[in-house]
């Protein structure tokens, strides 16, 4: 990409507050997001018309994930043993730097110059494209949405629909400028142009990279879900396939993928199933005429084991990355995915990003929610997202030195002054005489409340105490009765 795009929202900044102010002013973005999210919401519910079936399946989905996590280290070892037995090489990475180094090493060993990518959020987490590019290896996205945003030097706005913030006209203009194609806003023509370009890229690529939706321990199978066929192309045409995934994506056996698959595709897109479910258990075998000669799996931690260490926060790792929480989120719908400044936006982003990046880098994320509860209600694996947001807020205001240290960046919103204020408030409410005197003063002299109360009155009107306190009114009421 020769020229840098000037972003309305600086995606490198993680300040969700500042980003939101900018994106809220972008009417085109708001229109695009609103109509896309409305459509995804209705598609989901149309595909799950039977409440009993839906709720039972969500319960099962939750149990299957909880069960997998309850034996995670054993399942990871079983997965590894089976994959190795079947000829797939397994690599472990604690950090994104380690994961990038592993990918680069494989690429160098093959003298690779071109990499084609199926959709992978973990590779976004690693900033793999940037890393490979720095080392002279072209990394091209092949998912249509990812391809579009890569052309525009952007980051995904949604984990399932990366380019959902753009309309057809914007994509047409982008193709006109970047690919020197005649302008059209006809979606079919745009897709066919991209298909033609990307087919050549698949043809020449040295390595294909993909994510993993579910890694099945018992059979040593990597299961990938997609509609476009770029995932199958990336994992079949090039001589090497590298799959990158988080350590939490493992499930015990094949039957566990049945409820999860149904929950995933219906929650994400309102589809009973995606066009392709691609189950890979081995590289090309003797006698087989295609498929990669080498298959690698990179298992990435990157903060997941921190979430895992706490039994409440562990539920964050139930996530199957369907995106339903963001589709239903009133905050996400208004500010769009890029305003979060993190790879994973929306409600799931707000509870996973603090583990990946540290609370000090995401101090406002747990608070950027009205706690309306929609995300928790639609989550196919029943992650209690609102409860986890509240929990993160607590971790966020703990004293940085308080033990035990649950999270990196604990107490990044801690303020001694605020803590003192709440201590005072607690005292005020627990000493009856003080409370009585205080409420008497407040009700009698409420008119003296200043109009300007600092940050509070920026977005709220100043509180005006009532003429009588509730205690007084109740007492009067009881006296009148008797």
């Amino acid at each position: 990409m020769n020229s840098q795009r000037i972003h309305a929202v600086d995606i490198t900044a993680r300040s969700i507050k500042a980003n939101s102010r900018l994106s809220l002013k972008d009417q085109q973005l708001r229109n695009n997001m609103r109509s896309a999210m409305d459509s995804l919401i209705s598609k989901r519910i149309i595909s799950m018309p039977d409440e009993g079936e839906r709720e039972n399946l969500r319960e099962l989905g939750n149990k299957v994930r909880a069960s997998a996590l309850s034996q995670l280290p054993d399942l990871l070892e079983l997965l590894e043993a089976n994959l190795i037995k079947q000829g797939i090489q397994v690599h472990w990475a604690s950090t994104t730097e380690e994961a990038n180094a592993i990918v680069l090493e494989i690429a160098k060993a093959r003298n690779a110059t071109q990499v084609i990518k199926g959709k992978s959020m973990v590779s976004e987490e690693m900033a793999m494209n940037e890393h490979l590019t720095e080392h002279g290896i072209e990394a091209l996205e092949s998912d249509m949405g990812e391809y579009i945003i890569q052309l525009d030097n952007e980051k995904p706005t949604h984990i399932i629909m990366p380019a959902i913030h753009k309309n057809a006209e914007q994509v047409g203009r982008l193709f006109e400028h970047r690919l020197a194609l005649p302008y059209t806003d006809d979606v079919d023509s745009l897709i066919q142009s991209a298909r033609g370009i990307l087919r050549e890229k698949f043809f020449h690529a040295d390595i294909g990279i993909s994510g993993v939706n579910f890694a099945v321990a018992e059979t040593g199978t990597l299961l990938l879900v997609e509609n476009e066929g770029n995932g199958r192309m990336s994992t079949t045409v090039p001589p090497v396939h590298i799959a990158v995934t988080g350590i939490e994506k493992v499930v015990a056996n094949l039957q566990d993928t049945v409820p999860l698959l149904s929950l995933l595709t219906r929650s994400a897109l309102g589809q009973g199933i995606t066009t392709y479910v691609n189950m890979i258990s081995a590289p090309r075998q003797p006698g087989e005429l295609d498929g990669p000669e080498e298959v690698h799996l990179v298992l990435l931690d990157n903060g997941r084991s921190q979430a895992f260490a706490d039994s409440e926060l562990r539920q964050t790792l139930n996530c199957i990355r369907c995106g339903a929480c963001m589709n239903h989120c009133p905050v996400y719908t208004r500010i769009g995915g890029q305003a979060y400044g993190t790879v994973y936006p929306g409600p799931i982003g707000k509870i996973i990003s603090p583990h990946l990046l540290g609370l000090e880098n995401t101090p406002d994320h747990p608070s950027a929610s009205s706690l309306c509860g929609a995300c928790g209600e639609v989550c196919p694996v029943k992650i209690p997202i609102p409860a986890l947001l509240r929990r993160l807020r607590e971790e966020n205001v703990k004293s940085p030195s308080q033990q035990p240290q649950i999270m990196d960046g604990q107490g990044s919103r801690y303020s001694a002054k605020e803590r003192l204020l709440w201590k005072g408030w607690q005292y005020f409410n627990s000493v009856p005489l003080l409370y009585k005197t205080g409420t008497f003063m407040a009700t009698r002299f409420g008119g003296l409340t200043p109009k300007n109360l600092g940050p509070w009155t920026q977005h709220h009107s100043a509180p005006k105490p009532a003429a009588r306190s509730l205690h007084e009114l109740a007492k009067a009421h009881l006296e009148k009765k008797s």
């Binding site: 149990k63 066929g229 770029n230 199958r232 049945v258 084991s305």
Partner: protein
Amino acid sequence: MSAREKILASLRSSLIGTTPITDPFDATLVDQPWRYSAAERVTRLKELMTAVHGEVHLTRGNQWPQLLSDLLAQRKINKLLIAPTTAHGQTFSAYCQVHHNPLQLLAYDRPIEEWKRELFDDVPASFTGTLAGIAATGTLVVQPSPAEPRLMSLVPPLHIALLHASQIYDNLYQAQQDWPKPMPSNLLLISGPSKTADIEQVLAYGAHGPKDLIVLIVEDA
């Protein structure tokens, strides 16, 4: 300490004092809601496949080669990639010979590296068998093999698949029970032609894989 040891040690220490939740599975939840009669299985698969732009034709016994030949003629397709070592591949090539069909039959009989350009640019259609069908979701189960390699159902713009009605299962759970053990190097579920809705959620077919998928369902004669 290697990353592997570090990760596993950390996960293990977090689980100290906990009991693993084993066997949470309840098969009725994924099986009961998705049960059909034999006739319903065919109609449901056809309905769902058609809804995602797939084309489904019902045929009986040994009539499918003629149907296949007619469909190709209608589409003015003069080349077809087949697997000559499979039963259905042999049946169709014998049919073409007997009927002097001018259709050029191609075989995927050498490693992809030796004819990648031709496969990408010069093969308009392919014809494969299927391992099974799934009524609940309108799905084909396809098992690539040395005879029918992985790219056969992916690269040509038109993929035609042969499915026996008796091989259609109610749902994924039931189909899974009969999958080969150990799992083959690649197993696919295919539910329609390739598609995308990545631009403005407008559905477009033929994203990266086949633009068209034709399923021939063979019912017993």
